[in-house]
Structure formats: structure tokens, C-alpha cells
Amino acid sequence: MSLRWLKPKKGLANWSDEQLLRAFQKTGEDQYFFTLIERYSHLIYFNCKQYLSQEEDCKDMVMTIVEKVYERCPKADISYFRSWLYSVIRNQCISHIRAQNRQSQPNPNWEKNIETVSIPNFVEEESHAYGFSDEAIQSALQELDPLQRECLQLFYFEGKSYKEISQQTSYSLKEVKSYLQNGKRKLKILLEGIEHDKS
């Protein structure tokens, strides 16, 4: 068990998640892990807040998650840290609530949250997703669900905000977000299919 985190290396803040992760997996030095996890501490906390209403419960859950991540990190095959982190948080919170909700008072919105929070993959998970031609994108857009296509076009082509799209289309903000997230994920899948057919 290393105590070398006491002397953190300078400049780690500029390292990418993946660089820190690989360094931690290779050396086991905690300074890499804590630099990485601190970047996400507020995101972990507020993700827990979706499921747990009490601050202290959230804090405990964050510590549990950090411990889980610390234990699993060295051996896990992680392509994209934040995507993996999100799945750890979500699974941990849901299993905690399932175990506790008979005794404690869970956040009344948690079930709703579980249903409505979609888990799209990060776009960067497929690195080759960056270089699609405009024609390919336009073509793929035509294959989308009309609601998704409408929202994506308003957002990306016309530069509208979520609120503006909601006002223009009369979809709720939640629906707009959902159409955008799911539409973009589907768009990526379609584009990858087109690329694959070409090759």
C-alpha cells in the first residue's frame, strides 16, 4: 500500500483521465487515482443526490463509490473512465436503495429518475465518430425518428437552446433533452453503419 500520494507530482491536473487511469493501473500510486477521482467528486455527489435526499447519506455513498472505484480500477478494462464511473455510481445507488428503501425514506423521485435518466454512451467512446461527412450526417438524419430529427436540427442547425426548442415545439424540456440524447446516439450508430458499409 503506497503512501506516495503525500508527495503528489506536479502537473497531474493537466493529464487526461485515461493517462491518470493507466498510470494508476501501472504503478498503483494513489496520487494518480485521487487526482482523477477529485475531478468528478461533485458529479458523483450530485448523481447520488438524485437517489438519496440526505446530505450525509450522499456523502457516505460518495465514499462507498470512491472505495469501489479504487478497488476495481486496477483490474478493470476501462476504455472511457467517466462512462465507466457513471455505471458504477448508478449501479451502486440503485442497489443501495433497493436494499434500504423498505426501512428508510428514499427520495420520492428516485424511481422516476431511474426510469427517465437515459444512459447514452459517451460519443467519444468511438473515436472514429468525429470524421463523418456532412452528406453522411444529413443522410443519417433522414432515418431518425421525426421528433428526434426535429430537435437535433433545431439544436445543431439553428443553434436553439433546450428552452427555445421546448417553446417552439411545445415538447417539455425533459422530452427535448431525451430526443436530443437518444437522437444523437442513434445518429452515431447510423453513421457508423454507413462507414462500415463503405469499408
Binding site: 468528478y40 447520488c48 450522499c58 457513471y86 468525429y130 439544436f155 440524447q181
Partner: protein, 245 residues
């Protein structure tokens, strides 16, 4: 349109708060919304933030995590290691103290004549003569057994198994010195009974509190390569070595 797939960094707490409160410029808001489409982690955090009833308190909790997590986390791990170390040390330190009597009792078992070949076909007379003594022995009337065995050995001094019964009977009535004499004689007189004699000699020394002599005897038995006690002997020897001088 190509830029829609360009990844971006996750949102800071300040960005999330400002976005929620509508305090961002149009450009900054645009960047946040572009990121939110792709990032379930930030989306989830925003949903949690929107449910927060006391943002100040939440921010405080996060700061305390940041300041304390390394120390708290390390401390938990160091404390766990120390606790395990202490527990192991305690197990070693407070393991039950062995004493001669308890070691003796855990290994000593009165041998029964039926388990040993009693009858010497060449000496039926001796066999008949020893029966009353063995009956008393089996009844655990060791005092009577000693009297009868003495008479028997006067008549049949070469009936070697009788030395074993005599040694055990003496041990049972508390005459350890006499028991030692009979076991030693048996060791010298009859190779067939060498291992048994040596084993009970070891145990008798233990009963007397003579750990050194018991150890010597056990080592000798071990060196003889006998098989009768080969399973028990190493354990017994280990325990004898742990006994106080």
C-alpha cells in the same frame, strides 16, 4: 455539423450551478447544453442539483470530501491494516498457554489389552496366568491389577507385554517413577513393544513435568522411524517444544 461529435470536458460545479440558475452567457450555455446531450454523468449531476434544497450545504459537503477524502480514505485503509495486524498479534500473543498436564491429557489414552496381541502361542501358561490381572486392568481397578501383575511377572519375567500393562497401571495410580522403570525395561527387552514403550515413556515424563526428558524421548522415537505414532508424534513434539522449561 462535424463538431457535434467532438468530446468536451465534464462540467464544473460552478458551470452546473450557473446553468441551473440561468446565469450563463448564450455561448457558455450552448457549450453546457452540447455537453449535456452526450454526458449522462453531468446530466445526472444536474438532475441531482435541481433536487437540492440547500445548495450551500451540498457545496460544503463536497468541499469537505475534497479536503478530507485522501486522508479519510487513507486513514480507513491504514486503520484496517493496523486492526488486522493487531488482531493477528493478539491471536499469537494470547493463544492458550500450554501446560504439561493438558498436553499429556490430549494425547494419553489407556491402551486396551484387546487391541494388542496378548497371546503368545508358545506360552499358553503365561496367557492363562495373566488373565485375572488383565480383567482387573480392564475394569480400571489398577491397584488390583498391579498386585496381580507383580505375581505374574515373578512367575513369567519374560512375558514382555505385562511390562506395558504394569507401566500403565502404575501411571494410573500415580506412581510415575515406577511406570518409567517398566516402560524403560520394556524398551530394552522387546523390540516389538519399543514404540509403545517409548510413546508412554514420553507421556509419563510430560505428566511429571519433565519437558526436556519428554522431548528427548520423543526425538528418539521419531529417529527410530516407527510408524505406529508417526501422525501424532510431530504434533506432540511441537507442543512439547512450546512448553515452559
Amino acid at each position: 455539423m462535424k463538431s457535434i461529435f467532438t468530446p468536451s470536458d465534464c462540467l464544473s460545479l460552478q458551470q452546473l450551478q450557473d446553468y441551473k440558475d440561468g446565469r450563463l452567457s448564450k455561448t457558455a450555455q450552448r457549450r453546457v447544453e452540447e455537453h449535456l446531450i452526450d454526458c449522462p454523468l453531468c446530466n445526472g449531476a444536474l438532475a441531482g442539483l435541481e433536487q437540492s434544497q440547500d445548495l450551500h450545504q451540498d457545496a460544503k459537503q463536497i468541499r469537505s470530501l475534497r479536503l478530507g477524502n485522501k486522508r479519510a480514505f487513507r486513514f480507513t485503509q491504514i486503520a484496517a491494516i493496523l486492526a488486522i495486524g493487531f488482531a493477528l498479534l493478539s491471536i499469537f500473543w494470547f493463544r492458550p498457554q500450554l501446560d504439561h498436564q493438558s498436553v499429556f491429557s490430549s494425547y494419553y489414552k489407556i491402551p486396551q489389552p484387546t487391541q494388542i496381541q496378548l497371546r503368545d502361542a508358545r506360552n499358553d501358561e503365561a496367557y492363562q496366568n495373566i488373565q485375572p490381572a488383565l480383567t482387573a486392568y480392564q475394569r480400571e481397578d489398577f491397584q488390583s491389577a498391579i498386585t496381580l501383575l507383580e505375581k505374574h511377572l515373578e512367575a513369567f519375567p519374560s512375558d514382555h507385554p505385562a511390562y506395558l500393562w504394569m507401566g500403565i497401571a502404575q501411571l494410573e495410580v500415580g506412581n510415575e517413577e515406577k511406570a518409567i522403570q517398566f516402560f524403560q525395561e520394556l524398551k530394552l527387552k522387546d523390540k516389538t513393544y519399543y514404540e509403545k514403550a517409548s510413546w508412554y515413556l514420553t507421556l509419563t515424563h510430560l505428566k511429571k513435568g519433565e519437558a526436556n526428558l519428554a522431548e528427548e524421548e520423543a526425538e528418539e522415537l521419531k529417529a527410530s522411524g516407527g510408524k505406529e505414532f508417526q501422525e501424532k508424534l510431530p504434533q506432540l513434539l511441537k507442543k512439547i517444544k512450546r512448553l515452559p522449561e
